[in-house]
Amino acid sequence: MSKPILELRHVVTKVNRNTPEELTLLKDLNLTINEGDFITVLGSNGAGKSTLFNSIAGNLPIDSGDILLRGESIAHESEERRTRFLSRVFQDPKLGTAPRMTVAENLLLATKRGERRRLTPRHLNAHMAEFKKLTSGMGNGLDERLTTPTGNLSGGQRQALSFLMATLRKPDILLLDEHTAALDPKTSQQLMTTTNERITAENLTCLMITHHLDDALKYGNRLIVIGNGQITFDVSGAEKQALTQETLYSFFSDLQD
């Protein structure tokens, strides 16, 4: 039994507070994530998957409950401070990279994730060999384009770069928000394979939102389903291995009623 790394206790998150449009998105949600967990997250649209990520990352303030990292509350830390231990990849390839900066410059920014940026030279050239090696592992020609502005890359290359940037400095928690959804099936599969390899090799703790049931079954050691702002299903280990698409699908569609 490995140690819990992140705990969400009775988390309630609302939007449009104190207005007639007030909505409660997370309703007393409890979740304990253990070190090394690779959790696939399923749920219908509007169930609260993205809200869960935004609450963990600090984009959305939580209304009550607590979020603990290794036993210490981080519920009131700013989004910027939480980047010291947390990184994420967004669904939209445009969101993860700075378009006018080159691939290498983007990677260099990521090496300083969560750190203070000082008035010292950036030392780009000293990192080039390391970046070359890193990007060649992605197998999509990214290593040939280190000095290209990321705005000129394909969506697949940009997402691969976003993923590299998120894992360049090993995060305690990695959040993947449907990071392959905007890509064509082949590129999507390729990125999913490299994602899995890197998470396994580095023993990263990861939550991955996906709408592909087969991806959710194939990858990770644990699977959770979010419905109506709560965790409605949570399996891991052998129990998860035994899941089939049919049982999951029937369960998943029940939720939508």
């Binding site: 990184s87 920014l109 940026r117 008035l119 010292t120």
Partner: protein, 301 residues
Amino acid sequence: MTFGLGVSAIGQGLLWATLGLGLFLTFRILDFPDMTVEGTFPMGAAACVAAINHGISPIWATLIAIGVGMLCGLATGLLYTKGKIPILLAGILVMTAAYSVNLRIMGRSNLTLLDKPTLLKLPFLEHLPMYFDSVMLGFVVITILTLVLIYFLQTELGQAFIATGDNEKMARSLGIKTDSMKIMGLMVSNGVIGLGGALVAQNDGYADVNMGIGVIVIALASIIIGEVAFGELTMNQRLVAVTLGSILYRFVLLIVLRLGFNTNDLKLFSSVVLALCMMLPVFRNVFNFKHIWKRGVSTDE
């Protein structure tokens, strides 16, 4: 005569290039238009001239101008990031408030530097022929400023600053404090523009409360003319292009005056020149010169 005017245009271009460099940081890097400059520029001028009139040395007076410029940038930055006021409005608020402050600083609507020391009367500039002093001063200031900016943009902090303007959401997800970056950018930018006000006032020999009207157009013109004239460039080259754009712009004004228009028409011309330069990509698409040319020579259509 003509030669003298040419040298004068270069001198003016160099001194006014400070504005273009200052605005480049917000307009091109942070990617928003900062109207504060219309208040910062006369405030730099007013503070510098008032300080010199109070017996402060021109160098210190110029540094004071940079300081008040940075304060204007801080005000706009706080209104924008912490007050959540849209940047255009935040700039206009500070610019409007600056008008009253400038009248307070000078005590009246304009103040001369007649018989007072200025940077242009420093020992190494004093004996240069007419107009060459402003060329020399402008060259020294622009060289130092450009080198400092090039260094800054290559530091870790400078890269975080560029990333903030390029993709704010990504910057935050990498732990960059984007609000601080914007405030810092506005402060540095307006500090440089305050410096521009101080230099122009010392060159012209006076400060006037109305000298800020339309300066954002002049600053934008140096940036855009530089970009139109030199095309795709690296960041460092773009900084140099701003100064060259500023000098080119002065020559355009010189030609306009030579054509018989008077100085009252210059603001109209500045706006027209800037508008035309900014519409160039649209014209290229609408008229599609290449296409017309091809259609003209092809026979099988």
